[in-house]
């Protein structure tokens, strides 16, 4: 059997880049959102969470309308000869938009659960809002943020609908594994489809298990008498 490995590399690249993007964007949006409680922000949440409930094809459709050459954003980008449809960046955009709500939701939850008095203590001790975020809020929210990252990674790896709409199926450029599976099945190549499906299954499972173990290790400091070994103080 002559297997073209391109979908594997494209999927891997797309998944890693979109997960990294979503990690930064999701955590930034969540930390910005934390502590703001008004009705208007609920609408803001609604807009951000839409991709979670919309069919991916609908998300892809709107992205295509927005970013297409005649779209409001696409036409602007076209002027600087930048296109974000039917090329590799389009796969990243599709995966990022679809997985963003997962990251945003879990990060909001994790940040919201932090005891407010800890953040207040940090402020009275002279910490700026940035320091409060980086030195207190994020480390405390880390297990939750990590869970969001895992979910986003797994979801991104399996992204199909929006990717196909926005990036199409260009072998060697935009054909990710899920897209390849679909077209393998359509052309009757069940064996190749099964192979790709097994790869996705194996990667997803490995990542989930590994991240679970890492989270348990990270949380150890919260549990009496089960300290992670080898941590040393930064002072003195």
């Amino acid at each position: 059997m002559n297997l073209d490995l391109a979908p594997f590399w494209i999927s891997l690249k797309t998944t890693f880049v979109s997960t990294a993007l979503v990690l930064v964007l999701g955590v930034a949006a969540a930390s910005w959102r934390t502590g703001r409680q008004s009705r208007l922000w609920e609408l803001f949440d609604g807009v951000l969470l839409l991709p979670l409930v919309l069919p991916p094809t609908v998300v892809g459709f709107f992205l295509l309308v927005l970013l297409g050459r005649d779209g409001p954003l696409g036409s602007l980008l076209w002027r600087i000869s930048l296109s974000l449809v039917f090329n590799w960046p389009a796969t990243v955009i599709a995966a990022t938009v679809v997985t963003f709500p997962l990251m945003y939701l879990t990060a909001c939850g994790a940040l919201g659960q932090i005891d407010a008095s800890m953040l207040e203590a940090a402020r009275t001790l002279g910490a700026s809002e940035w320091e409060v975020l980086v030195r207190i809020a994020l480390p405390l929210a880390w297990p939750g943020v990590l869970a969001g990252t895992v979910l986003s990674f797994a979801r991104s790896l399996g992204e199909f609908g929006a990717t196909l709409m926005l990036a199409g199926n260009i072998p060697g450029r935009t054909e990710t594994i899920p897209v390849a599976i679909f077209f393998d099945m359509e052309s009757g190549d069940t064996r190749e489809a099964l192979l790709w499906a097994s790869i996705v299954l194996a990667v997803s499972l490995t990542v989930l298990v590994a991240m679970g173990a890492w989270t348990r290790y990270q949380r150890a400091y919260l549990v009496r008498d089960s300290m992670p070994v080898g941590r040393s103080a930064r002072v003195a």
């Binding site: 402020r123 480390p139 040393s232 002072v235």
Partner: protein, 359 residues
């Protein structure tokens, strides 16, 4: 060093209107829950913004609604100790204490070890908060608040999460520490004894307003109002009317009382603290009885390990346990002397200890 607070904020069912000045003597803020104690403390720390007013510490304006000044917490140089320590669980004891220190490494480790020694935390430097006992946690929190040398130290019910033994231990340490502390100290508590032992000056709050302030002895000796008397632990009140210069009629207690202070005509109530009433087994037959001494019968009783609370009915035996006039607190030793003697016993309301309250 002084702290001036004059703040205001209106809520649908509550108005905060607090003004007081604190010097270098520790000031205790006393009040029931919901009286605005914690809110006041948080306003000073910059964690809560009042609608109007001014807060100044050591000559620096921290908040002034007229000038539009509202310094963020981080710039206020105020140390805050929370009810539940609020230590950072992902940092060691040492890292927690060093968190607020924005100085060079050498100076930082010097100050951290200084605090570790002062708070008796040696050997725990590398521990995480969850590995410490409740008392140790609160000591680390205190060390962390003090390490940056704040101009004001705000203590919000610092012992409430501790058990009795640790409480008194930490209280003694805090007392020692406060003696050497140069800044302003505010202590919020609803524990009378704790606040009395630690603070020479008191501010009494009720439903968002200051209802008394001054030296602790004065506030406890002659509370200016019924609310203050209640909040400082007074248990015995009777409606009263002034009869002569040093004589009032206690309407609920159905008796005439001699009082040390001159009774103003506006006198509405007479009151006395439970442990200022003497109970003796002297014979009620020895007429006439000395001034302010009345026969009384036991209506109910509540025993603690070292003291006994008696609920007494004056003039006649009690019909049921709730039929009583006076709540009296005596030691177990005094109780042992009285309890075997036949009733009625004699209750003595010391004229120097009685105080009069306006309407």
């Amino acid at each position: 060093m002084s702290l001036e607070v004059d703040i205001e904020r209106q809520f649908p069912d509550f108005a905060l209107r607090v003004a007081f000045t604190a010097g270098s003597k520790p000031v205790g803020i006393l009040g029931a829950s919901g009286s605005g104690k914690t809110m006041t403390l948080r306003a000073v720390a910059g964690l809560y913004t009042p609608a109007r007013g001014r807060i100044a510490l050591d000559g620096h304006v921290l908040f002034d609604s007229a000038q539009g000044v509202n310094l963020p917490s981080r710039a206020r140089k105020v140390g805050l100790l929370f009810q539940h320590h609020a230590l950072f669980p992902h940092l060691t004891v040492q890292e927690n204490i060093a968190f607020g220190l924005r100085v060079q490494t050498a100076e930082r480790s010097r100050r951290v070890s200084e605090q570790i020694a002062a708070m008796h935390l040696s050997g725990l430097e590398q521990h995480y908060p969850t590995q410490l006992s409740g008392g140790q946690q609160q000591r680390v929190a205190l060390a962390r608040a003090l390490a940056p040398q704040p101009k004001a130290l705000l203590l919000d019910e610092p012992f409430s999460a501790l058990d009795t033994h640790l409480r008194s231990q930490l209280e003694r340490q805090l007392h020692e520490m406060l003696a050497g502390y140069k800044g302003v100290t505010l202590l919020v508590s609803h524990n009378l004894e704790e606040i009395y032992r630690l603070c020479e000056e008191l501010v009494v709050l009720d439903r968002g307003s200051v209802i008394a302030q001054g030296p602790r002895e004065e506030i406890f000796r002659c509370p200016p109002s019924r609310q203050v008397a209640l909040l400082t632990g007074c248990k015995n009140f009777s409606r009263a009317q002034a009869r002569e210069a040093h004589c009032v009629e206690a309407i609920d207690w159905k008796c005439m009382l001699r009082v040390e202070q001159e009774a103003p005509s506006a006198t509405a109530e007479v009151a006395i603290r439970a442990h200022h009433i003497g109970v003796s087994a002297g014979s009620a037959a020895a007429q006439p009885l000395p001034a302010n001494t009345f026969p009384c019968w036991l209506a109910a009783l509540s025993e603690a390990p070292f003291h006994v609370t008696l609920f007494l009915r004056m003039h006649a035996p009690a019909a049921d346990p709730s039929d009583c006039h006076l709540q009296v607190e005596i030691t177990q030793e005094q109780w042992a002397r009285v309890k075997s003697q036949p009733q009625p016993w004699l209750a003595h309301l010391d004229p120097q200890r009685l105080f009069l309250l306006p309407d």
